[in-house]
């Protein structure tokens, strides 16, 4: 897999615009915003996307055909993508967390407590979820069509959400109105510590991550290039 990693690192290093954006944003956030958690989220998101970006690049100009003539098995290809996604995401997350911590101590003069850690750890969930969703879609539909697929999915999600939100005004009882989101989360918060919730969330997203890997394996084994 070494060759594939080198290839993806090269692609990642070519995302200069991305890196500049991150650096610039990071610096601005450090000095202007009080909410240091923003930089962690931003960096994690951008780095988490690196894995999927390499998938898109591979698919450009029918590149996948040639890549699969290299001695790497299709399984090795998929495995490398997921490992790369985690590695890139964790790298981005760690660096930004350290920077955020330093900024919090130095500029806001607030000590780092459990709250900070909890906030930082929350972002590990999207770190797993982004590749979980994007990589199988990119593999199955290719770079061009997956954009359409993503928009369609988001559209459907919003549509359902919209319908659920608007339904009561039409007199349809979809759920017990008293059971608002705040009530639910308040209830969970009271019964479990925040830390446990985060841990649960990370575990759950990791499980989904592994499931996504298996789905991607199945997709790539069947696909013709």
């Amino acid at each position: 897999m070494k060759g594939l990693l080198i290839k993806d690192l090269r692609i990642a290093s070519q995302q200069k615009v991305l890196l500049l954006l991150m650096a610039g944003c990071g610096i601005i956030c450090l000095f202007t915003m009080k909410d240091t958690a923003f930089i962690i989220g931003y960096a994690t998101l951008l780095c988490g996307m690196l894995g999927t970006t390499t998938c898109a690049y591979d698919d450009l100009n029918h590149g996948m055909s040639f890549l699969l003539t290299l001695p790497y098995s299709r399984k090795a290809y998929v495995l490398e993508k997921y490992l790369f996604s985690i590695a890139a995401g964790i790298a981005g997350w760690s660096i930004s967390t350290v920077i955020a911590a330093i900024s919090q101590i130095v500029f806001l003069k607030k000590p780092i407590g459990a709250e900070f850690l909890n906030g930082a750890l929350t972002f590990i969930i999207p770190l797993f979820l982004i590749p979980t969703v994007m990589i199988p879609i990119l593999l199955k539909f290719g770079q061009a069509r997956s954009r359409i697929v993503m928009f369609t999915i988001m559209g459907i999600v919003f549509a359902i959400g919209g319908v659920l939100a608007l339904a009561p005004s039409f007199g349809v009882a979809v759920y017990d109105e008293n059971l608002t989101v705040e009530v639910v989360t308040f209830g969970i918060r009271n019964t479990l510590s925040y830390g446990l919730i985060i841990a649960g969330g990370i575990a759950a997203s990791f499980v989904l991550f592994i499931t996504s890997f298996l789905i991607s394996l199945a997709v790539i084994q069947r696909k013709e290039y």
């Binding site: 070494k2 029918h62 590149g63 055909s65 040639f66 699969l68 001695p71 790497y72 013709e224």
Partner: protein, 283 residues
């Protein structure tokens, strides 16, 4: 060696039904019109597409059982697919080095220098000729038993073509048991380089013989309608109606030279044979 036994694949508007037997130590040409099934055959050999019927063997091993070490022994050039165009030669070299145990880095760079490939430009800034040469050099950069080249000389001028064909000859000289399968639209490439010629049309192999037999034992007979009606057609494989009369494809050139001394008998070429087989009728 490369052997395809009864490969069958069905598409919407096209069915592939191909068998090939390429002996070690030979350069084999595959010719055919666009859409005849050349690239599909290549993709099947390279494991890029699935097939319900048929088996493909490289070096006596079924490609379905191929491991990493087996795939390392295959080099290929594809028409429309290569590394990302935003890479430079040194990126390609790094990836190849990490992928193939037998990658010879010094030799690769030396060849790139010999062919004046720019080391500091991205592949997307290369000319067509440079891209083609880089693809071929990549395929030749590691030790292989088999080369699968899909139109490696397409769009190249005669000098560049000669360079690339020379590289293939050098490749064969270094190891007697290597096998090359090359496809080309350029008749002279096949006639000068290939030991055997396969012709594919509509997904089927319509001709398969030694190239030098094609050039010496086959011939084109140009006759008028009356002669065609009365002549001995036992050695005529196919014919095509032309404005002046009828052009026949025969595999027994000497027979017609001896028995019909006034008949126009022309040397056969790959292009000419394709035209008769594709546009003409079989006998």
């Amino acid at each position: 060696m490369i052997r395809i036994d009864g490969l069958k694949k069905n598409y919407k508007d096209f069915n592939l039904d191909v068998s090939l037997d390429l002996k070690p130590g030979t350069i084999n040409g595959l010719v055919g019109t666009n859409g005849a099934g050349k690239s599909t055959t290549f993709k099947a050999i390279l494991g890029l597409i699935s097939y319900k019927e048929g088996e493909i063997f490289i070096n006596d091993k079924n490609i379905k059982d191929f491991k990493y070490e087996d795939k390392e022994r295959i080099g290929c050039v594809m028409t429309d697919s290569f590394f990302s165009e935003s890479f430079k030669i040194k990126d390609v070299a790094k990836i190849l080095k990490a992928t193939y145990k037998s990658f010879d880095e010094a030799a690769f760079y030396k060849k790139c220098e010999q062919y004046k490939l720019p080391t500091d430009k991205m592949i997307k800034e290369f000319s067509n000729g440079m891209k083609a040469k880089l693809k071929v050099l990549t395929a030749l950069s590691h030790d292989t038993d088999v080369l699968i080249l899909d139109e490696p000389t397409v769009g190249l001028d005669v000098v560049a073509r000669d360079d690339i064909l020379g590289e293939i000859r050098d490749y064969m000289e270094k190891d007697e048991n290597r096998t090359v399968l090359i496809s080309s639209h350029i008749s002279s490439d096949i006639e000068k380089l290939c030991d055997t010629t396969y012709m594919i049309h509509d997904g089927k192999i319509v001709f398969n013989d030694d190239t030098d037999k094609l050039l010496s034992e086959y011939a084109a007979l140009k006759v008028d309608e009356e002669t065609f009606a009365t002549m001995d057609k036992s050695h005529v494989k196919a014919y095509r109606k032309e404005k002046y009369g009828i052009e026949c494809l025969t595999d027994a050139r000497d027979f017609y030279i001896e028995n019909y001394p006034s008949m126009v008998v022309e040397k056969m070429s790959v292009d000419e044979m394709m035209m008769i087989l594709i546009k003409g009728e079989k006998l």
